[in-house]
Symmetry: C3
Subunit: 210 residues, 3 copies
């Protein structure tokens, strides 16, 4: 079980790092900039979570696997950046499995230090989503998940499922698997059917900004 989580973690790290490479190369950053953006996308969510709960030194300082994975991914990603769209589906899969894992890790850490269930769900969502938020801020964009991706809602739902199953006495393993699948299924359905959060803006309001 442990080793499966480790493998998912690496795959998620790769997928996140590549999303950083893609965003950074669009902005024509140099190699150093691309590396930093890839790193932040991968470890940013977990780092923010660790800082908020006071778990320091933060995770990636203690585990060079992530740093080396991100370094190699960045170099490979830059070299093959024109071919990245051929592996888009694999990347989406890794990415989605990655956010499922990060959501669960975040929720678990909250439970471990006795935080309120609602706060645990928030921690899970932060772990999964804030790498992308910081990536977009470094690239001088309004974070994309604040505007159109249903990504975060999948994490919130997965977190709620996790808390609910634990509350009703499910084992840790079953809980993690079902909550993780919830994230994966909701996100995949959202992307396949192009679902977004219901817009709160009228037609007129939307045109105003365009």
């Amino acid at each position: 079980m442990e080793s499966i989580a480790d493998i998912i973690d690496i795959l998620g790290t790769i997928a996140f790092a590549i999303s950083g490479v893609i965003t950074a190369t669009k902005k024509r950053m140099d190699l150093f900039g691309i590396l930093i953006v890839a790193t932040v996308t991968s470890v940013g969510g977990g780092t923010l979570r660790d800082l908020l709960i006071g778990k320091t030194p933060v995770g990636w300082l203690l585990n060079t696997t992530f740093v080396y994975t991100i370094l190699v991914t960045t170099v490979v990603g830059v070299v093959f950046r024109k071919q990245l769209h051929y592996v888009r589906k694999s990347l989406f899969l890794f990415d989605t499995i990655g956010i499922a894992l990060y959501t669960i890790t975040g929720v678990q850490m909250g439970i471990l230090i006795d935080l309120h269930p609602a706060i645990c769900v928030a921690l899970g969502t932060i772990t999964a989503c804030f790498g992308g938020v910081i990536r977009d801020i470094l690239c001088n964009e309004i974070p994309v998940i604040f505007r159109k991706e249903i990504y975060a809602s999948a994490c919130i739902l997965g977190g709620v499922v996790y808390i609910g199953l634990m509350h009703f006495g499910a084992t840790a393993g079953v809980t993690a698997v079902i909550a993780g699948l919830t994230v994966i299924v909701v996100r995949t359905l959202a992307v396949v059917y192009e679902l977004q959060l219901p817009s709160i803006y009228s037609q007129a309001e939307r045109e105003e900004i365009n």
Copy 2:
């Protein structure tokens, strides 16, 4: 006394969250984005202060009152977003009382861990102002208090008054009330008379950027 501070805290949280809702809806964010921006505006200053002094888990992780207040405020704020200007004066009042309270809380925390008076004033100002700074960064704007609001100067002044009164032996209660009133009066006068910090730029310099 405790319960008055609690009520002010809630009112301040509501006012800050609504300022987040207003900024985020202007950028046509979706519900999730609006919620995050509202949350960050409300708890961002206190969170940064807690991180800097090492008080973790940071405040809002331990108190769901804030999270629920922000959640309800966001939903109500979004639904009635076109009516928000009718309550602008009440919001300004809450907001101003809120920053007064946050300034004092920040200064007090600095004193509690024996920081230098000047650093305590900085902590108070950070607590009151950085929620808005992070809000503007998430919305891809240069923070408004860096450009034209006299908001921060009111906090600095209030902090200095607090430190001064304590130094001259005033009781904690009297000190808090007078320092808080200083923030409220200075900010209100600044807004009513449209005061800004004296511009350091010549007419030519100002036109250059426009």
Copy 3:
């Protein structure tokens, strides 16, 4: 030795603060905004490092020398902002010596808490570079070191030299001096010969964004 490091630290703080003043006045910020940007440029890198490793309260909260240095530098910098280009070469010198010192301090702190050598180099680079990164984000720009400065590469190289010399048994003093000189020489050569990281973009790609 201690006092030389202290003097370098002050000179570096001044140089960093002035780079903040220059960036902030270009954006026509008011005095408060300029002060915050100057402060963040000076202490941002060290603050992020302290947060990541859990060394709180972070450094500048415990040492008012920095705060007063930044305050005075900001006021003087604003008053003489049109004359700043006359001292550009001195500023470049201070700035370069400053980043050399910050790199070494960061690497040393990593070693002190037994982090992996690669992570120590990362900590040194963060200490030297992230003040400027946060400055640019507050000013709503893509960080300049992500696009064209060879600044970060000099820090990484200096960090590697530091780790290497310690590994081969050099004394702490010799190691610090040689690693620091590495940063200074590499950066100076890069600026004098206008070196950049080799561009990864084709001519067509570069034109696309322009």
